[in-house]
Subunit: 216 residues, 4 copies
């Protein structure tokens, strides 16, 4: 680690206390976490998720808080791919129907409103894919498919892998508070899934650019 | 890389064509990019940004599209820290005043509406911090402070570092289309900045949890 | 009605079939509905609602779909008044606490996610005010205070007053489909409540203008 | 008016100062304003707006603040009608193209970001419809079509009609501060336009209900 720090901190500030040391440690932890969590991804479940998305009439994405923001970022790219995609709660999101696929993002798998909407999804007989750190959660158990992201959920469950990998950090929850590792890893995973979908759909970067919102 | 792949792909699927190969390559590229871009961060400019945030009466965050989502994720954590923070465009965002700090997120630094609002910020004599891949852009040049994120902006500028580091990928823009590397790196950077702010403010993870929205 | 039509439709088009006749009828119905529903308002319950809002530490507004949009429009004005107000689901909304007041807007009083969040509100021992056409609904029954708006909820309940008043319109639900009358009447009521709060707080229009978001 | 007040205020409170008198006056003003402003609508321009909407490949709605919320409420209903509609700034809004129609809502017609986006709309050669109180504004002048709503814009322009009609209210801006009359009247007008579109498209209330978002 000493070596890394030498690289990151400019020499002229090296004699005093290093600037932004916690920022530096947090970035190291987050990067390692992403790297490890992505290696642990079950590619079979990922591949099935992508098949479902490609076979869906419409795709609906849902999540609350920062997980909801990650979901919106994914939905934006699915739209760039030319897929019919909606974010639950936005103004022009239509009725969900059988044949549609819902991607729910919840680290703990216990987010109240998402669990409730999950029940509605099942009742409508749409397909429910859950991206979560807790496949055994209420939401995980009602899913048609789950993709497990090794991240610490807000409630602290799921820490064991993180602790094991990154044991040297005594202050894990201070370097990546609440659901941070889950949210970041999920964003990276979903963006990589977009790259995979581009290949499967024969789309290039230019095709996505053409779909990009011009009113910004 | 062969070694990595062996770890990531379960043995029973190893004999056929590897599953989700593009996903795998994209995750590798994104992880390396985050790692490298964070090492390239100018910690002096980061430290000044954090000083401004801590000294602000109110903090306003703005961005469009996926950069706007990253901004919202940052704003959520600033609120968890107990800071007075608003997202430009949300329903209860009040008038900006002198003494406030605006954090604008734009990979290209040329996003039309953000550039225009940047002008209003300067007129009101609030402080403008720009997180961008292009400090020489219109937005970068009007900023009081810039933090440079080495990411490819949507318009393809800024590729050189990425190309240099990750040269083996012929299809860079297919593995991380449009502003993906900027958006992801910025999210990780801003989350690490939250960890740094926690230390500076003497807050622990429990304090953030107490502020977390309960109506989800 | 013939008289009204003569006034509204310019003479030169009067000889042909009148332009936008349904628009015209719908506007007449909506205007009459607003007028009548506002007369039916129970001012005691309104006054108690305003007392609660003025006594709250923070005010939280929640609703889904178009009721949620009406709630956001109300929240914007409460912010203009200088009150501490948040919209449930926005990025910087903090934890609800005892001593806070939640204003829930739901025509039917049965909106799944709002009913669920209502239970959380009660558990936290914050005050729950429900603006609804159905005070006997699940949400209405759990409220600390309700304000009844005579509007047709999406499920068609509550029609009786509307039918009685506006009986001549055979096609009521075609002139104001789904929750339209509830949503419009609630917006007008809440905007009038803002005028009342201005007087009680000694604020004038200029004070509100000063708080108005400048980054638009 | 005395008669109205007797009806609205319960007898037991009648002896003291009337409850919520400003609320009552504001509701009366708002109702009269809606009624009058709708009578003043130019049905030819409305009819042309509806023709454009029905002929559009896709419809985009834009506005900021409370005008933006009114736009979202309109967009929700256009979606219920089965039209292809997007709200500018939402996550899954695609690129605007020639052949599309943009409905911009701005009381003053001078809202900075909407004016800027209006220029982009013209450059893309999409059709720009502006709903405004100020057809002579920057936005109004660049529009392909305008629909004039007699409401007071935030900047106070356009008051003359309101003052003329409702002259007895000395405190007009206190009973309906900022853009209130514009926003409310526009919502009622656009909801009446939905009723007109239902007839033109042969849709009934049931068809709209079927499209209504079930995940709430």
């Amino acid at each position: 680690m000493a070596e890394d720090e030498n690289r990151a901190i400019p020499e002229e500030t090296n004699k005093e206390a290093p600037k932004c040391q916690t920022l530096h440690e947090s970035m190291e932890l987050l990067t390692k976490h992403i790297e490890q969590a992505l290696k642990e991804l079950d590619l079979n479940s990922v591949s099935e998720m992508l098949d479902e998305i490609l076979g869906a009439k419409s795709i609906f994405v849902m999540g609350t808080g920062r997980s909801g923001l990650v979901g919106k970022a994914f939905a934006t790219r699915l739209m760039h791919l030319g897929l019919r995609v909606y974010v639950v709660g936005e103004s022009t999101t239509p009725a969900l129907r059988s044949g549609d696929v819902v991607v729910a993002i919840s680290g703990s798998g216990e987010t109240l409103s998402i669990v409730d909407l999950g029940r509605v999804v099942k009742k409508i007989r749409a397909s429910l894919i859950v991206v979560t750190s807790q496949p055994d959660s209420t939401l995980g158990r009602m899913a048609d498919k789950t993709v497990r992201i090794f991240g610490r959920a807000k409630n602290g469950k799921g820490d064991y892998l993180v602790q094991h990998l990154l044991g040297k950090y005594a202050k894990l929850s201070e370097l990546a508070p609440l659901g941070t590792t889950f949210e970041i890893t999920t964003l990276v995973f979903l963006d990589a899934a977009i790259a995979e979908l581009m290949v499967r759909m024969g789309k290039d970067s230019k095709a996505l650019e053409d779909m990009h919102d011009k009113l910004q």
